[in-house]
């Protein structure tokens, strides 16, 4: 089996190299025969998918067959590992996750190459660029991190087992989501670079990649938040975001990708920010590769990172090569990217997008600086200075609040310019509503002058309310116009309105989801925690809950041994739940793992962890956290993903109504 896998990887490298070289040659020398050469390049790209799929399939099958002659399977699986985790072995370690990266890239490439008739030349450029990226990953796989490397000497009877932290259901889907996001940004980047190289006239490449970008962004959003949820549910420290370098690595392309999704609308609608958008999509692609490098090179220590390895050098060269290539073509064809219009007013939809971009980039730069600072300090001073959450929070919180303000304001501003009268007309009611929310919060005890975190929480609540109200007002105003023309009721008209411009109104739903996520995050300043050694019948009180230790016990199975406490949870005199915080010891990997237990409600999470046993008394130590509003974060993310999915639905055909335009009758309900 391993021979076939190794052969498949070599063949994939040969096919990608051919796809790139033949593709470039066919594009560079148009003439007799170039179309046939281009077609063979396209087909080689498609065949790459088939052979990379074969290699990945063999690796998974080897995990299911407990083929420990393959070193990767020995290091990341064992006989008693449950089946879903054997499947997840593919992305559990360095040498397995690289074929998975390659497989996803070839799958994206497959879709792109099958749709080549949309614009054959542009697609041919994008296909060649994707082949070039694919070559890099296949070179890594064949010469630096071979997944089919064989064990030396006597074959072991059992594998070393999967990292216990990865033995959690979400880990079966979190990495694929994140990788789909990382890899997916290669596609819009390939189209952008292709359009730049060929001096593609117009913005159709944006139209072609719009859905790719949105789908990729949705995957990355899913990946980032699944990672946060996994950290919350598995790591046992009671939080969901620790500004860990690998978390940061996934956040950076998300921030620039979000900026790109917004600013690209200015290019589509007004032919503006062409150079900016080129750099944004390049930065997003580059940061995705940088994130992969951070996770795999071993230069940073993180609970999410793979082990130290020698592939860092390969990544450094690839990052430099992509930067040089992109910069070369950018300066060569810069004249092609001149803006068609200028910013007419500081109070306009364009300026709101511009400020949104600047804030997102500021956040990205802060995260980038904080992530690299320990390495820079080590290089300059000789000692590693770690940057903690306060550094990030000092920038991220004000930036998030300003972004929330723009999220609320942006949709109400007109393209080109907005008058003061228009501002008054659109903002009065949402602003009054937001002020009312602020007053209510102060009445219920949130005093912004007591502590800066209370001030941030109050501002976040008011701005989240402003976002919710502006989104609602957009739906109601639009719905009324449709109702006037069709005679439908308001609700039906709003559904109708949504179908007329799914991208815009789906986007508003995403904005609403962001507001809900912010509501969840604003509970953080009010977190509480307590730790206590609890014998039989011992009590601990936290917030409105009283915890009573009923018992503690232990068990054993082939995969792990475990011990846990049985805790009754009371609210007042009423018993509401029994919780079982647990600690496991995995036999194959010889590693312990804490499994928190969480009772979630819309108000707060009660989060219990089994911290271990006091050796002197033999009694368990239980830590309880009370984290307000956390559930809102996960609900908000679901709304964001739902909004993105809705935005992907094609628009219904507009109904033509008489419009007072001199050029042509304009149908209602389109545009952005």
């Amino acid at each position: 089996m391993s021979q076939i896998g190794s052969f498949a990887l070599l063949l994939a490298l040969a096919l990608s190299t051919y796809s790139f070289l033949a593709g470039i040659l066919a594009l560079a020398r148009p003439g007799p025969g170039s179309e046939r050469l281009g077609e063979t390049a396209r087909r080689a790209g498609i065949a790459t998918f088939a052979v990379v799929f074969l290699a990945a399939f063999i690796l998974v099958i080897s995990a299911f067959q407990d083929n420990f002659s393959i070193a990767y399977i020995f290091h990341h699986s064992n006989r008693d590992l449950p089946a879903p985790y054997k499947f997840a072995t593919l992305w559990s370690g360095q040498e397995g996750s690289l074929p998975f990266w390659s497989l996803l890239l070839s799958a994206y490439g497959l879709v792109l190459r099958l749709r080549h008739k949309t614009d054959a030349r542009l697609f041919a450029y994008a296909s060649a660029i994707i082949a070039a990226v694919q070559i890099f990953f296949l070179l890594l796989l064949n010469f630096a991190a071979h997944p089919f490397a064989l064990m030396q000497g006597e074959l072991p009877a059992d594998g070393a087992g999967l990292n216990p932290l990865l033995q959690y259901p979400e880990m079966v889907i979190h990495p694929p989501m994140l990788y789909l996001g990382y890899v997916g940004f290669t596609v819009p980047f390939a189209f952008a670079l292709g359009a730049l190289i060929m001096r593609y006239p117009g913005e159709k490449w944006i139209h072609i990649t719009r859905r790719w970008t949105m789908v990729t962004w949705a995957f990355l959003t899913c990946g980032v938040f699944l990672g946060a949820h996994w950290a919350y549910s598995v790591l046992g420290w009671g939080g969901y975001w620790g500004w860990d370098p690998v978390e940061n690595a996934s956040l950076m392309p998300w921030l620039t990708g979000t900026a790109f999704l917004h600013s690209v609308m200015m290019q589509e609608k007004r032919g503006m920010l062409k150079m900016w958008n080129m750099w944004l999509i390049f930065a997003t692609f580059w940061l995705a590769i940088l994130g992969t490098f951070l996770t795999r090179s071993g230069i940073i220590s993180s609970v999410h990172a793979f082990a130290q390895s020698s592939i860092g050098g390969w990544f450094k060269w690839f990052l430099v090569l992509t930067l040089v290539t992109f910069t070369f073509f950018f300066f060569k064809n810069k004249s092609h990217l001149r803006s068609e219009h200028k910013l007419e007013s500081l109070i306009s939809r364009e300026s709101s997008f511009l400020f949104n971009n600047l804030l997102l980039l500021l956040a990205c730069f802060t995260v980038l600086w904080g992530t690299w600072f320990p390495l820079i300090s080590e290089y300059v001073q000789g000692n590693k200075v770690t940057v903690g959450p306060p550094f990030y929070n000092n920038v991220a919180i004000p930036v998030a609040l300003l972004l929330l303000l723009l999220t609320a304001v942006g949709p109400l501003l007109a393209w080109r310019k907005t008058s003061v009268e228009s501002l008054k007309r659109n903002f009065m009611w949402p602003a009054l509503g937001a002020i009312a929310v602020g007053i209510l919060m102060m009445v219920f005890g949130v005093r912004p002058w007591k502590d800066i975190s209370y001030f941030y929480a109050l501002m976040a609540a008011m701005l989240a309310a402003l976002v919710g109200l502006t989104v609602t007002s957009e739906f109601i105003r639009g719905g009324r116009v449709i109702a006037r023309h069709t005679g439908q009721n308001l609700l039906a008209s709003m559904v109708h309105l949504f179908h007329r411009n799914t991208r815009r109104y789906g986007g508003y739903i995403v904005h609403f989801g962001v507001a809900v996520v912010i509501i969840g995050i604003l509970g953080t300043p009010f977190n509480q925690d307590k730790e206590k050694e609890m014998g039989f019948g011992d009590k601990m009180t936290i917030g409105p809950y009283t915890l009573v230790c009923e018992s503690y016990t232990q068990d054993d199975n082939p995969n792990y041994s475990n011990e846990w406490a049985i805790i009754s949870v009371f609210r007042g005199d009423r018993k509401i739940e029994t919780m079982y915080p647990e600690r496991r010891f995995y036999k194959a990997s010889q590693q312990p793992q804490t499994l928190p237990r969480i009772r979630s409600s819309y108000k707060e999470d009660l989060y219990l962890t089994y911290e271990g046993v006091n050796e002197a008394t033999g009694r368990p130590i239980i830590k309880a956290h009370l984290n307000p509003l956390v559930m809102w974060i996960w609900v908000g993310v679901l709304i964001m993903i739902g909004g993105t999915v809705l935005a992907l639905i094609p628009n219904a055909a507009p109904v033509r109504v008489t419009a007072p335009a001199r050029i042509q009758a304009a149908p209602v309900g389109a545009g952005d």
Binding site: M1, L15, V51, G271, A414, S419, S422, R425, A661
Partner: protein
């Protein structure tokens, strides 16, 4: 020969056949023209006009703002339409001249 070697050979043959066996004619399609680009611009401006019209009907824009924004979009559209008409005339003239040359030959 082992099963693995045979499988590798089969995979290789299938791939080579798929990549290099190209029966029939191939056509990449024409290069994008300035006219096609202007058509896209025209559609984008019309979409902006529809959007503006809708926002005005939704009560988001005062009449004065609406008229001023509409005029500037119409001017932009007129410029694009004029260039399209010019290119179409030039194209038609080129076709006519080619036909005349063909008739003489």
């Amino acid at each position: 020969m082992t099963v693995a070697t045979l499988t590798c050979a089969m995979v290789m043959l299938c791939v080579l056949f798929y990549v290099f066996y190209l029966p029939g004619r191939l056509h990449l399609g024409p290069e994008k023209t300035r006219l096609a680009y202007l058509q896209e611009r025209k559609e984008a401006i019309y979409e902006n006009l529809r959007d503006l019209n809708f926002e005005h009907q939704a009560g988001k824009l005062p009449d004065q703002d609406y008229q001023s924004l509409k005029s500037s979009l119409e001017e932009e559209a007129a410029g694009v339409l004029a260039e399209m008409a010019q290119l179409e005339r030039a194209g038609a003239a080129a076709v006519f001249s080619n036909r005349r040359k063909g008739a003489r030959v």
